[in-house]
Symmetry: C2
């Protein structure tokens, strides 16, 4: 088990109260990626409407013919404006789903390397955070995880990300190279990621079989509110059961949407508890009870090691150290460009209202924990 970096680094932030605010769940379609999407005739694609607007279709048969897209998806100035509007100091930017999943092995390989290079430049040429040594933008790179790719090509991208000073991890979906993340063929990839100390941001895209949603038109509600978290939960459970965390115990996995349903089902799926130490949870759950609960669950593995079954108030505080604020920008925008985004405000209010979290815990979830996880220090 690696040293609890969180505890050490947190001390330097706790006195800073609510600064910095760090967003670990924030997306971009870089221009090189947007160009690919514009060239396509099936989803994922960017289409031009007759009115001259662009719309993004991530999945075929999406309700309402896709969503409007604009510079907030690719323009760095728009990302910084969004950050300023909400007081976000630092963002760890990642390509949004579906990443490279729809590409041939050759195209995915080429585009991964190009996008990782673009993202490093996006971050390195951006502004600094206050008068610190930190930048305001860091990146999570991409791997060419598609069927038919060679493992060497994937590891090449891992090494490229590891060598890029402003890329601190990578984002991935749940399909691996076609058989999911519990595919032993990926072991050299986990090994390279672990050796490089990169954080893996595990993010859903496919949800579950749409037959589950029935005949009623509920828009995006069921696939997004339930299907996405189910996918993350399933992928994480499969990773655990496959022994990946036993073979690569220093891997660090950041789970989108606070781990989906994993915390609530983790006693039912008891093996999760044993593997909690490697799991980190974004704080994109929209309610203080959910966040407080996740922090309790996160702390259980330690208690089980000591044989204690009694929950202490300190457990909720300790568990908070593996939870990290995120916005999901630029998705779910408000109606006008000047108002604050509801999902951001809700998640910040939720963090502020978790019973049992003091200023130190809230400051950690707002930013300190993210800096610790990604190995950054302000001074």
């Amino acid at each position: 088990m690696r040293a609890p970096l969180g505890i050490l680094n947190r001390l330097s932030f706790s006195s800073m109260s609510l600064k910095p605010l760090v967003d670990v769940h924030t997306h971009v379609y870089l221009p090189r990626y947007a160009s690919w999407l514009r060239s396509r005739s099936v989803a994922p694609k960017i289409m031009s409407t007759e009115a001259g607007e662009e719309r993004l279709l991530i999945l075929e048969n999406e309700p309402s013919g896709g969503r409007p897209v604009g510079p907030q998806y690719w323009d760095r100035q728009e990302k910084l404006r969004f950050m300023d509007l909400h007081g976000i100091d630092i963002s760890f930017v990642s390509t949004a789903n579906p990443w490279l999943d729809f590409l041939s092995a050759k195209d995915a390989h080429e585009l991964a390397l190009g996008l990782n290079s673009d993202l490093e430049e996006y971050c390195s040429t951006g502004p600094s955070y206050s008068d610190s040594v930190l930048k305001r933008l860091y990146g999570l790179g991409l791997l060419p995880l598609v069927p038919g790719i060679t493992i060497d090509a994937i590891v090449e991208a891992v090494n490229q990300i590891a060598a890029a000073p402003h890329l601190k991890g990578l984002i991935m979906g749940t399909k691996g190279i076609g058989k999911g993340l519990d595919d032993e063929a990926l072991d050299p990839v986990w090994q390279a990621i672990e050796a490089a100390g990169l954080v893996v941001f595990l993010h859903p895209h496919y949800g579950v079989d749409s037959n589950a949603w029935g005949d009623k038109d509920n828009g995006h509600v069921l696939p997004l509110a339930l299907g996405f978290p189910f996918e993350t939960t399933t992928a994480t459970a499969r990773l655990i059961l496959s022994g990946v965390f036993d073979r690569f115990p220093s891997l660090r996995i950041l789970l989108a949407h606070s781990g989906g349903a994993l915390p609530q089902l983790s006693s039912r799926l008891a093996s999760c508890i044993d593997h909690d130490p490697v799991l980190y949870f974004d704080a994109v759950a929209y309610g203080p009870e959910e966040l407080g609960f996740v922090s309790e669950v996160v702390s259980r593995s330690k208690r089980f090691e000591t044989g204690s079954t009694v929950q202490e108030e300190a457990d909720r505080r300790e568990g908070s150290q593996r939870m990290l604020f995120g916005t999901d920008h630029p998705f779910f925008p408000p109606l006008t460009s000047t108002e604050k985004w509801k999902s951001v405000v809700e998640n910040l209010e939720a963090i502020a209202s978790v019973p049992g979290w003091g200023a130190s815990e809230k400051g950690g979830v707002r930013g300190g924990n993210a800096l610790s996880l990604f190995g950054l220090q302000i001074k």
Copy 2:
């Protein structure tokens, strides 16, 4: 909104400390049902092995060729022995999945009526609880919810259950008559259930599309630990979105496995919160953190009505009033017939260890809440 019966009835139990212990999640295959299963050549079926034992196959392609079945599935004496072994005073017994789902409309109708009659007799001719007016066994009946059935035939079964003195509700899966529970065709059924004051125990069977589980052989783990709760979560969300709880506001739904992932995803699926008052949760979640969290979430709807966003310690106590102990007997048995069942012991320990629950709350979850929900009084 109906009067908070739970609060009124609870007072009479709180002084009784940990008695009675009531099991709301406990299953049976009555002899009439077991005979049907023995006559079948595809799942669900009961097969005889060459060694003369019987095995139950609930789904085709189940790992390890199904599970051993014996008298614990149909013999009332075995149910009572199990209850005595664990100090369970009263059980609300229901037919296990897949209920009547595999039958023709004609057979399902006939078997529903026959099984409801059998279950009433199973309960009414059983022992009394201590020297009270209560029995030790009550039942949750069955409806012939299959494609092609007439709504009149379903309502007939509702009325039969309502007229049976020892049947206090009914168990159902998530398919309805083929299109799920959000099918408007079922409105007369909900209306009849609501008018009769019967509790609906919503229980999973199908899980989600098995492609989600990948190629690895993880046995039953993923379909049971994740697929089952996902199914319950989805069905409940679809019920909420369809407006069933708005049209029939006095319906009372008991959710298996503590509502699956619904509590953790309920802020993401915010409409759940508005409809919390009609939802009850069994306490089959195997961990005290999960149970405490569910009780917090359950209490939110009231706070939202008052406009308060501050969580009080009392909320967790109040939310506990809609949670109810269950065993899932006779599934997941231990290796010897004399030892206590791990899942029962775990769930009782979990109830005993929830932070913020006092003796009154624990006594309620152990039994008082169930008696309130099902409208029973000891004296």
